[in-house]
Symmetry: C2
Subunit: 227 residues, 2 copies
DNA sequence: TCCTTTTCGAGAGCACTGCTCTCGCTTCGA
DNA sequence: TCGAAGCGAGAGCAGTGCTCTCGAAAAGGA
């Protein structure tokens, strides 16, 4: 019954949204480190102390922004896949890569917030793991649902890795060979790592602009997976 | 003539070193974000304002720490290669990977400082690029000096990438085929990306502990390079 | 309708931060 | 020897996250 709510509840929900919205604006313009509760309150025309009625502190506000960022990236992935339903799996894979990079370049601070250095003493709350998994799940879904060319097995997993891989496969992609799953994880690391390198300037002077390197890496990983 | 210096010069050098040392200690314990000039000064028993005689500000102090961290990582790489001079190139490659991960796990805040989200509005000064290049150069050196098994060429580089790769090859590893150089770059991204994922908790619950995944990735990249 | 309980916003205040400026003291070099 | 330069300390400014209290407003039971 979302219609019959007290005026207080509606106001609270609206203000919570406005606070997040303004915080997001500041995040986009100055980054997470410089995000200031007082500045958010100032911009909203309220006392900074009043903000604590809605968020327990800076960390909780940042957590909300992290979840939003993960969800937005997950939405981008879902939309991309929906728009490429008729394409080959390989094209869907590359489309996901491109969409992720485009989002990251358009929202560098949001990308840094979720895939960069965590804020100190901050450990991701439970609520973040589900939205965080959306992008890797979308990537894995393309691999899972595709007819894969056979690929050479590569180096054998050792130690705890075979168990970890089979547990992961059982939960997410039953039937996927372990070495393919391992390569999918590698691809995910490459996707995020390469975007991070580009955004944080580690490629400046050698491989910047990185668009073509990025496209090559997407194809390289698709090859390795047998897509 | 480093012997004949005024007392002032010697004191300045020593204090500069002590400031960096204390800052490093704080960096290791609380991270870059929480690094406080005032706390450093307090610990050294001096007024915070006096610190500005030695470093123009927090950013400059952080830059000094960044350079130190890159150099320490470079030293680790050099020492590792020196200690593995008799090993096969493949073993040298894997030893570099392991040493890098070990250093990162022992110095997570330093790793985050150099490979994590840059501080806001901060762009790496010229002085950092040379020490920053030491680890990738060491990795590339192993590949350059090794007899490589022929590997399938993989997807062709397009757009600006062939030019970037040949310029890079000309400067660092003449004669290295472009697709091998591209894979070396990919491997570098994977090395740093995987360590970042592990340190920042992105693998918790699925592939953590990540030691065996890491070893597998090292071997996988070695295979791809023909090592 | 009244009255209690809960919710809320504002303000003051605390303990911090980075950074600047000034004021004396010490050291250096001509 | 004496002026200049380097240096440390202190006060101060503007900003931060966060807490506490107080009065007003809304909510809901009697």
């Amino acid at each position: 019954m979302p219609a019959i709510r007290t005026a207080r509840e509606r106001a609270r929900e609206e203000l919570t949204r406005e606070i997040k919205q303004e915080a997001r604006r500041q995040l986009a313009s100055v980054g997470a480190q410089q995000l200031s509760l007082r500045a958010v309150a100032r911009e909203l025309g309220m006392a900074s102390s009043a903000l604590y009625r809605y968020f327990a502190g800076r960390d909780e506000l940042l957590t909300a922004l992290i979840i939003d960022a993960y969800d937005e990236l997950g939405d981008v992935a879902d939309r991309t896949l929906a728009g490429a339903a008729q394409d080959t799996p390989r094209d869907r894979w590359c489309a996901l890569w491109t969409a992720t990079r485009d989002w990251a370049r358009a929202n560098p601070h949001e990308f840094a917030l979720v895939y960069g250095t965590p804020v100190p003493g901050y450990s991701a709350p439970r609520a973040t793991v589900e939205p965080a998994a959306r992008l890797p799940l979308a990537l894995l879904g393309v691999v899972r649902d595709a007819p894969l060319r056979p690929t050479p097995p590569g180096p054998p997993p050792r130690g705890a890795l075979p168990g970890q891989l089979s547990a992961l496969a059982a939960a997410l992609a039953p039937g996927l060979p372990p070495h393919v799953l391992a390569r999918a994880v590698s691809a995910w690391v490459q996707l995020v790592g390469l975007i991070g390198f580009e955004l944080h300037g580690h490629l400046v002077g050698s491989l910047d602009p990185a668009g073509d390197l990025f496209a090559w890496t997407a194809e390289q990983t698709a090859d390795a997976l047998g897509l």
